[in-house]
Amino acid sequence: MPKKVLVLGSYAPSLVNFRGPLLEAIAAAGHELVACAPPEPGWSPREVERLGARFVPVPLSRTGLNPIRDARTFRSLKRLFAEERPDVFLGYTAKPVIYGVLAARAAGVPASFALVTGLGYAFTAGTELRRRALRHLTMRLYRAALARTSLVFFQNSDDIQDFRRLGILSPGVRTQRLSGSGVDLRRFPSSPVPEGPTTFLLIARLVRDKGISEYAEAARLLKPAWPEARFVLVGPFDGNPAALSPDEVAAWQQEGLIDYAGEQKDVRPFLRDCTVYVLPSYREGMPRTVLEAMATGRAVITTDAPGCRETVEPGGNGLLVPVRATSVPSPKQCAASSKTLLRRWRWAPPAAPWRRSGSML
């Protein structure tokens, strides 16, 4: 029987880029679909409408701790649910899950689902007062919201375990693990690795927790012994408390370490032009850019961190490195062995070693 479904995100373009296949599927199954997010300058709701959804802008700030602004968000969401009267609510990322589920419950929405896409800034290692305060507050709010859901989707097992260990998930809350939100394999076709100088690529919001400083440090270590290697960085500056400043990135550019390509609407040409994709993140739900790089047919170097480690079978499709690792015994030797490894990767026959090990499935 057709239902009315309301989906809430904190970043309008993510409705199409991250949840597009899901929205399309919900609409294709005959349900009435309302997609909500804060309006984004330069972004058109036509993209969401093309998927079969009606877009409703909501006042919600993705980051920030302003209680007055968040109280306003909660009231607006409650009003939205009262007007739309959906049968099913799905929220993804922290604020839409927390305030969305609580507002849906207050407005009498029969079924609420939450998609936890990662633990974010508050839960990555760090003891600063601001981070501890945010962690405490987020835990309390998550606990209240998730207790009111029908089911919570997670993108990796580490997050489920951490939520249980921290007492955020009460024993009665149902969970389901997904392999991230996946990647649209038609949109990211496989392409051959280009000839020419080795190009490393990192695509991320310019936030410290993505390991961008470590990426620049790796470039600093390797460049003297490997001057032709390029270290490309793509992504927007961010309002996150751990955001990098434009001055830091400009300094890396001036030093010749990083080629910063800014924010890109379409990252596919960058993926096609790279040799290896790198994401030295401290923690992820399931790193979307890694999945896109994999679909493009690129080897991946990422961290042995929650979310990241699930995308790489070491030696099979890439390498796992320790979180925050920036030193090597001999940069010269490291550059030489990296070149050898890359030559081997380039000519490696197709293989799927995780099938043999069975450890990833």
Partner: protein, 60 residues
């Protein structure tokens, strides 16, 4: 390595399959037509091949 990456993406991280999994879990599968969400989605994602047209093309 690249080929292994692509194969792994196809096998484990196909967005269409994951969307279908979520639809089933939320009880949203198959409102308009019978069958599971996975079947509906696959039907939409990959239009059925016209076997006779393919056979004609092959025989030429």
């Amino acid at each position: 390595m690249g080929a292994a990456s692509r194969a792994m993406a196809e096998e484990r991280f196909d967005a269409v399959s994951i969307a279908a999994e979520m639809m089933d879990a939320m009880g949203l599968a198959g409102a308009a037509s019978p069958g599971s969400a996975a079947e509906n989605l696959r039907r939409n994602a990959h239009p059925p091949v016209d076997a006779r047209a393919t056979a004609r093309k092959t025989s030429r």
